[in-house]
């Protein structure tokens, strides 16, 4: 059950998070009332297309959203305490120590003017006040932990001397240096070769077991979700449209958008005739969002009631879905079969 509402079992609870970008012409609600929880020791995936607000959600947790973006509402409870009430100094003690983050672009996420060792040392210096020698010793251990061959040599090299996969391993070493309880991985494998992707995911999974971390995995790759996540939040236009355990998402998706995403994956067990199914249309521009259900203009089942925004409703399995089809008010085809195109 994803929503147990017992704080001691959830490392992170996000309630009605709203992050807005203020420009001179408009206000863009990049994250618009997002709520979900991360149970202790589990991996929660957030999936969605580019611009769905998944990265901004993750940056909001560490309060690292750059201007003109601003968290305007909601709460982010980490171990029962609301991070949005913390001072900047308190947040700094949490960043890199209790909650760590790794990013999409290992090629640019490391500072080109410092050695790998110096960059890992920094985490130890900030949070544990270690001196040069002991920090270096710990950094070497971290490099070994993340599986970098000949760490004694690598520790004194600069980022440009390492491959993309190596750099992501270094990023993981930095993130895990102080034994965080929550790791946020924002598309950690998107920029890597397929073979390296698998290695990095394996490494994250492995370290999660070893270090008893919880992981928030941001991705647009459903394959990655299937391999690593316990729960999945599907985001569309700044809102969560479906939240469920990974089995339900893949075996019995509820929201037409989730169904659309899954249908557009090439099946591995049979051939398909013709083109892969696609979701018609495109993600609406964030300043011209539909009034009702955000997905309605692209939805094959859309009906009149879809012009009103549906709520995220918890069903009898404890999973959540934001769609009128599952409510009493549904005014469309009563026989609608959201999963029809997948099951046939």
């Amino acid at each position: 059950m994803p929503n147990t509402n017992k704080s001691e079992e959830n490392i992170l609870e996000i309630n009605n998070l709203q992050t807005t970008f203020f420009t001179e012409e408009s206000e863009v609600k990049a994250v618009d009332g997002v709520s979900f929880t991360i149970p202790k020791g589990k991996t929660v995936g957030v999936v969605g297309e580019s611009g769905s607000g998944k990265s901004i959600t993750s940056l909001s947790i560490l309060r690292l959203v750059d201007k003109p973006g601003k968290i305007v509402g909601g709460e982010i409870k980490f171990k029962g305490e609301n991070l949005l009430d913390k001072s900047e100094t308190e947040m700094r003690k949490i960043r890199g120590k209790e909650i760590s983050m790794i990013f999409q672009e290992p090629m640019t996420s490391l500072n080109p003017t410092y050695t790998v060792g110096q960059q890992i040392n920094e985490a130890f210096k900030i949070h544990e006040g270690l001196g040069k020698t002991s920090a270096r010793k710990r950094s070497l251990e971290m490099l070994k932990l993340v599986g970098i061959p000949s760490p004694e040599k690598r520790i004194d090299q600069y980022p440009h001397e390492l491959s993309g996969g190596m750099r992501q391993r270094v990023m993981i070493a930095i993130a895990l240096a102080c034994n965080p309880e929550l790791l946020i991985a924002d598309e950690p494998t998107t920029a890597l070769d397929v073979t390296i992707q698998a290695q990095i995911l394996e490494l994250i999974k492995d370290l999660q077991q070893k270090l008893h971390m919880s992981v928030l995995l941001i991705t647009h790759d459903l394959g990655v979700v299937a391999e690593t996540c316990d729960y999945v939040a599907v985001m569309y236009c700044g809102k969560i449209v479906e939240f469920a355990d990974v089995k339900s998402i893949f075996n019995n998706p509820q929201h037409p958008y989730t169904v659309g995403l899954l249908s557009s994956l090439p099946p591995h067990d049979r051939d398909i005739e013709g083109d892969l199914p696609v979701i018609p249309g495109a993600v609406p521009s964030p300043d011209e969002l539909p009034v009702g259900c955000r997905f309605a203009p692209r939805c094959a089942h859309a009906s009149d009631i879809c012009n009103t925004l549906p709520n995220l409703v918890t069903n009898e399995n404890g999973n959540q879905v934001r769609c009128w089809i599952y409510s009493d008010k549904w005014d469309g085809n009563p026989e609608v079969e959201v999963n029809a195109e997948r099951t046939t």
Binding site: L62, L64, D66, R92, K93, I94, R95, G96, K97, S100, M101, F103, E105, T108, S109, L110, N111, P112, T113, E122, A123, I126, H127, Y158, H160, M171, I174, A175
Partner: protein, 318 residues
């Protein structure tokens, strides 16, 4: 690193040969006869001819150049045609004055420029950013000889200070001319350093703004680093790379600026020497000064390249 420095020093040799060739040709192409100037307007023709012969001005150009360059290699830059004094000595006594002026101005430029640039970039579009950049635009647009004259008027003579400014009656704090004491150094250094400070400030600002959006800055913040550490340790070191280039180029402009500044403040340096020499067609002095200035410029840019290497590990100098 050592072989690199050595190679760069060897590379300066053709540059310096080029400089001597250029200056030598220019001095002989511009109108005006040094022999005539030495002898005086109304001197008889034979006397002028005598002087020409004595100075070797009747020799073919390649011979004149050869004589000159072989002298240079032995540390002999020739004798002034006007005073007959040894050029090496003439430059020698003024060299350090100009180097000091250029060096202090450079320090001022870098110091003010970096501070203003960092403040502007970290508070983009704020009141201080806009103010600093407007001031920088003024600094950039102001001809430095004019600034020098104004500074003399206000802070050396104490003239025209608006009467409504309270508590300040006499603003003649500094000396208008000469070189050596603190009161003499302040105004010329401000005069010469302002333009460079403005350029460095604008360059630092744009470079910082570019760097501050980079992914590795976000990584540093996500590590829990303090904002001060993020700005100075992570952003500035990367932002300095293009700034260092500008500093190197700026030094050339600064050497040119010493000519005007030394003239305005009556400082007896290389700049003033070269102005006087050009007016008198004293070509050995002009050649010597330009050669020394070129050498300085080349040396400073060598330093810049070495700093580069330190800042940017991706540059492989070998």
């Amino acid at each position: 690193m050592f072989t690199y420095v050595l190679r760069r020093i060897l590379q300066t040799i053709p540059v310096l040969i080029g400089v001597t060739l250029l200056v030598f040709s220019l001095m002989h192409l511009i109108p005006g006869d040094p022999a005539q100037i030495m002898a005086g307007e109304s001197a008889p023709k034979e006397q002028v001819e005598n002087i020409r012969e004595r100075l070797g001005l009747n020799d073919p150009y390649p011979v004149q150049y050869w004589n000159y360059i072989s002298g240079v290699l032995q540390g002999d830059l020739g004798n002034s045609v006007r005073t007959g004094r040894d050029v090496t000595n003439e430059i020698g006594v003024r060299f350090w004055v100009t180097v000091e002026l250029a060096f202090y101005s450079m320090i001022l430029s870098i110091f003010l420029g970096l501070i203003a640039g960092i403040v502007s970039a970290t508070r983009q579009y704020s009141f201080s950013d806009v103010t600093l950049m407007i001031v920088a635009l003024f600094g950039l647009s102001m001809p430095n000889f004019w600034l020098g004259l104004m500074l003399i008027q206000w802070f050396a003579i104490g003239m025209d200070v608006p009467s409504w400014i309270p508590f300040i009656e006499n603003t003649a704090w500094f000396k208008p001319s000469g070189w050596g004491s603190f009161e003499q150094i302040v105004l010329p250094v401000i005069t010469l350093g302002t333009g460079g400070a403005a350029i460095i400030a604008r360059m630092t600002r744009s470079s910082m703004l570019e760097v501050i959006d980079q992914d590795y800055i976000r990584t540093a913040r996500a590590k829990g680093a303090k904002e001060r550490v993020v700005v100075y340790r992570h952003a500035l070191k990367n932002a300095l790379i293009p700034v260092v280039t500008v500093v190197g180029l700026q030094f050339g402009a600064l050497l040119g600026g010493t000519v005007l500044t030394e003239t305005v403040f009556a400082i007896n340096g290389m700049g003033k020497l070269v102005i006087d020499a050009i007016q008198a067609r004293d070509f050995p002095i002009v050649q010597g000064t330009v050669l020394v200035a070129a050498l300085l410029f080349v040396l400073v840019n060598l330093l810049v390249d070495i700093t580069y290497r330190y800042l940017n590990k991706r540059i492989d100098l070998n």
